[in-house]
């Protein structure tokens, strides 16, 4: 049993106050959520608890009412604190067992690693909490959900009493999320104290007992989750009233502008991944493609945008065949995309904001003449977009890396919209964004729809698909298994379960 109290914790980076005299009290044996927007200072605070950062002078940390100074993660672990980072810290070619014992391997008398003892212990913990793992599998061969369990097991193996989970469901599929909730409940039952950093409201409602809200580095308040609604939580987090429902009128679809017929593509292992995929989009509608991660969505998007070779089939935009064209030619055919992974594919993180705005168009008039960049035009163009999309901080010379996730997404959105596309593929457009930014992106997508663009929304968040789409298709194993029309979306009583059934492999008859 371990309780934690923070008093007056501040952390300054240069002139920036990431944490400003924060107080936090976590009772032993509770699930305590830390809620805040991206950049609110949640992660900094957790890193202080785990000894990765030292708080500014005056801050005090109490463990079981005893004042401690956590100098290093090593010390934190010794005191019974465990942390699972958002991006897992696992050695991919090692087995689960090797990863768990890494750094504190039990030794046999001859100095060899005592795998037998280690395995027995790991299996015991695994069974205790129903983790259901095979310790001899390699990390690179197991699912993300399983990897997360390994991370939690790692902390338990080190006798953690208090476990910090940083954005634990960000990378999980809906099924894995349910498993995750179950595990958290088991841990709680066993008397562990859990801190969950998140900005997902339903997640808090689902598993947390109490919730502390942080905004712009400052402590706002701690609330009892049961007696606080999602709307109230959102308002406290953002600092203003937030509309969780998307405001949109009924779509008025026009002509078919985007048509995919019998599309086939292979994945990286050269196995069929997109199989006879058919879909058509009309102007002025949002078509949501629901499905569980790994059913060919990534390959589909790559094939459509020219990043992956198409084996067979046809893709037409405005009657023009684009199936075998290069990414550049496809982009110029008025197909735009918000990529799934904005930091890897959407932006060059170390390029300036203004440079990211013209990633595709740098060679074109007016941004360059005879191969030389016209900086004046770059600045002019960028300033316009910064204003129109309210991107902050309003500094086009800043590297994209230095902006928050929401503002990074706005850069991509602004850039893609500026090209005036006919079709926009929005792949996980709100992944990792906070409520305020999500609201913005959703409204922007609806606005585009109303301007007569066709939008293909691909998301693993079923709620997002249901709330935003005018029509839904379900992708299972690389092809469309069901089509759901607007009437069904709006009138079906259990629409989520209805679609979830198709996602799990059921077919429409």
């Amino acid at each position: 049993m371990l309780s934690l109290e923070l008093r007056n914790i501040s952390k300054t980076f240069g002139s920036f106050k990431a944490n400003d005299s924060i107080n936090l009290k976590v009772n032993s044996g509770e699930v305590h959520a830390i809620l805040g927007e991206n950049g609110a200072g949640k992660s900094t605070l957790m890193k202080i608890i785990f000894g990765l950062y030292q708080p500014d002078a005056g801050g005090e940390i109490y463990l079981n009412n005893e004042l401690v100074k956590i100098r290093s993660p090593r010390f934190a672990i010794r005191k019974g604190i465990g942390m699972v980072h958002q991006h897992f810290m696992l050695v991919r070619p090692f087995t689960i067992l090797q990863n768990i014992i890494l750094g504190i391997e039990p030794r046999s008398p001859f100095g060899m690693i005592d795998y037998k003892k280690a395995r027995a212990e790991v299996l015991k913990i695994s069974e205790n909490y129903n983790f259901n793992i095979d310790p001899d599998l390699k990390i690179e061969n197991i699912s993300v959900g399983m990897q997360q369990r390994v991370e939690i097991l790692k902390t338990l193996y080190r006798n953690a009493e208090l476990i910090i989970l940083d954005e634990p469901t960000a990378v999980l599929t809906p099924q894995e999320v349910i498993d995750f909730y179950r595990i958290v409940r088991n841990l709680k039952q066993d008397g562990k104290t859990i801190i969950i950093i998140t900005h997902k409201l339903h997640e808090i409602k689902e598993i947390a007992d109490r919730c502390t809200i942080i905004r712009k580095g400052q402590y706002i308040e701690t609330v009892d989750v049961r007696s606080t609604s999602e709307e109230e939580l959102a308002a406290k987090m953002v600092g203003r009233k937030v509309d969780l429902k998307i405001k949109k009128t009924i779509a008025i679809p026009g002509d078919v502008v985007f048509k995919i017929e019998n599309l086939n593509a292979l994945n990286d292992k050269q196995l069929p991944s997109v199989k006879n995929f058919n879909l058509s989009l009309k102007r002025g509608e949002i078509l949501g493609l629901a499905g569980i991660d790994g059913n060919g969505q990534s390959e589909l998007v790559e094939a459509l945008t020219g990043l992956r070779k198409i084996k067979s089939g046809s893709v037409k935009i405005n009657e023009k065949e684009i199936a075998q064209l290069t990414p550049k030619e496809i982009y110029e055919s008025k197909l735009a995309m918000i990529p799934e992974d904005r930091q890897r594919r959407g932006l060059v993180m170390d390029f300036k904001v203004k440079e990211n705005f013209v990633l595709q168009n740098i060679s074109k008039n007016p941004f360059s003449h005879y191969g030389f960049i016209i900086n004046r035009e770059l600045v002019k163009f960028s300033e316009t977009l910064m204003d129109r999309f309210d991107i902050r901080p309003r500094n086009i010379e800043l590297a994209a890396r230095n902006l928050s996730g929401g503002n990074q997404q706005k850069i991509i959105l602004a850039r893609e919209i500026a090209n005036n596309p006919d079709v926009l593929i929005a792949f996980q457009p709100t992944r990792g964004l906070d409520v305020g930014a999500i609201e913005y992106v959703h409204n922007e997508l609806v606005k585009l729809r109303d301007q007569g663009k066709a939008i293909l929304l691909i998301s693993y968040e079923l709620d997002e698909v249901i709330n935003l789409s005018d029509r839904i298709a379900v992708i299972v194993d690389g092809s469309v298994s069901a089509n759901i029309d607007y009437e069904t979306i709006t009138t079906h009583k259990n629409i989520k379960e209805h679609i979830g059934l198709f996602m799990a492999g059921g077919t429409s008859s």
Partner: protein, 363 residues
């Protein structure tokens, strides 16, 4: 200011560490540095030698830095240097044009050959996924043995030597090469002591070519859309590909330019200093030094220029201790290596400075 302090600290601790190595080898360190300093800057001809020494290093450094900006590690600078040198020596020998045609022509062909040689590694990476580190290491050896083979070729090989024929005088880019030894030249130089000393070594146009190359690379990287795309590929392959940039083409082009720059180093070296190529038992290290130069210069064109000059000065003045104090050349190499090593790890010092900074602010 902070950055300057950082560089200064790196250099000083490098020198201190170098001193330690000298001391351990039984060589009086202070005296050694004194000799190095005087041996580098006390006479005009020393400075001239340093400039001559630096020229190829600046160019190979530039080559490595350029490729690095596109995310490619050009270990092949060595081989590209050899190809440039060999081509310059060969065509500089067989062509007989007047200098105004001969020099640009030979330079042009050398750059072309070496850029194709560099581009080969880029192409293999783009087309077949062969890592450029592997392929360029192989290509280095291929270049070395190819050059050795060519040197021994009938009609190019100079009888009874281990070298090729000398290039035609019309290929030379050395300043005042014949005039300084003519009667008029000796007469004129006897009244101009400084210039006389400065021009005693084979001072040549290479340094100007190197400076032009530095400007050329800087303009490409900062002012052109071509450079923009190269950098995008270097920073984020995926984002570049998604943005419609032809990543494979850019890799090949980048390696071609890198190869051309290294080849230019080889060509100017032959045309300005050595005047021929010799059988090589091992790599001479111009290309490998280029990696160090690029690293010290933090992969920027102007950085490479300064770092190339610095390394050239170190190498030249290091020799001076060898003769004056009878220090083994290995110890000197170790000392130079230590200095470079310290300069290449500014991260450590950055942390140090930050901590000092904090202490200072607390007070």
């Amino acid at each position: 200011m902070k950055k300057f302090l950082l560089s200064l600290m790196c250099v000083i601790s490098g020198l201190l560490f170098g001193a330690l190595i000298l001391k351990l080898s039984g060589i009086p360190a202070f005296e050694a540095y004194n000799i190095m300093w005087n041996g580098a800057f006390s006479k005009p001809n020393y400075i001239a030698y340093i400039i001559i020494r630096s020229t190829p290093l600046i160019l190979t450094g530039l080559s490595v830095a350029f490729a690095f900006r596109t995310g490619l590690f050009n270990i092949g600078s060595e081989g590209q240097f050899i190809m440039g040198a060999l081509t310059a020596a060969y065509f500089g020998f067989i062509f007989h044009f007047n200098p105004w045609i001969q020099i640009p022509l030979v330079l042009g062909i050398s750059v072309m050959v070496s850029s194709l040689y560099g581009g080969l590694a880029g192409f293999m990476k783009a087309r077949f996924g062969v890592h450029e580190v592997i392929s360029t290491i192989m290509l280095n050896w291929i270049a070395l043995y190819f050059s050795n083979y060519m040197v021994m070729l009938e009609g190019f090989h100079k009888a009874n030597t281990e070298t090729s024929e000398f290039i035609q005088p019309s290929t030379s880019i050395t300043f005042l090469e014949n005039w300084k030894n003519s009667d008029a030249g000796t007469e004129w130089f006897s009244h101009h002591e400084f210039l006389s000393e400065f021009f005693r070594p084979p001072v040549n146009a290479g340094i100007f070519i190197a400076i032009i190359a530095v400007l050329f690379v800087w303009i490409i990287l900062t002012k052109t859309s071509f450079g923009f795309k190269l950098k995008a590929v270097g920073q984020s392959l995926e984002a570049a590909r998604y943005a419609g940039i032809n990543v494979n083409k850019k890799m090949t082009q980048s390696m071609m330019i890198a190869g051309g720059l290294s080849g230019l180093a080889g060509a100017t070296h032959v045309m300005g200093v050595s005047k021929n190529v010799a059988i090589l038992a091992a790599h001479e290290g111009y290309g490998f030094d280029g990696i160090a130069v690029s690293l010290i210069g933090s992969n920027s064109p102007f950085g490479a220029a300064i770092a190339g000059f610095f390394l050239g000065a170190l190498k030249y003045s290091g020799q001076k201790i060898q003769s004056a104090l009878e220090a083994p050349s290995e110890v000197i190499s170790i000392m130079i290596g230590a200095i470079i090593f310290f300069i290449a790890i500014p991260i450590v010092f950055e942390k140090l400075i930050n901590n000092f900074h904090k202490l200072w602010e607390k007070k």
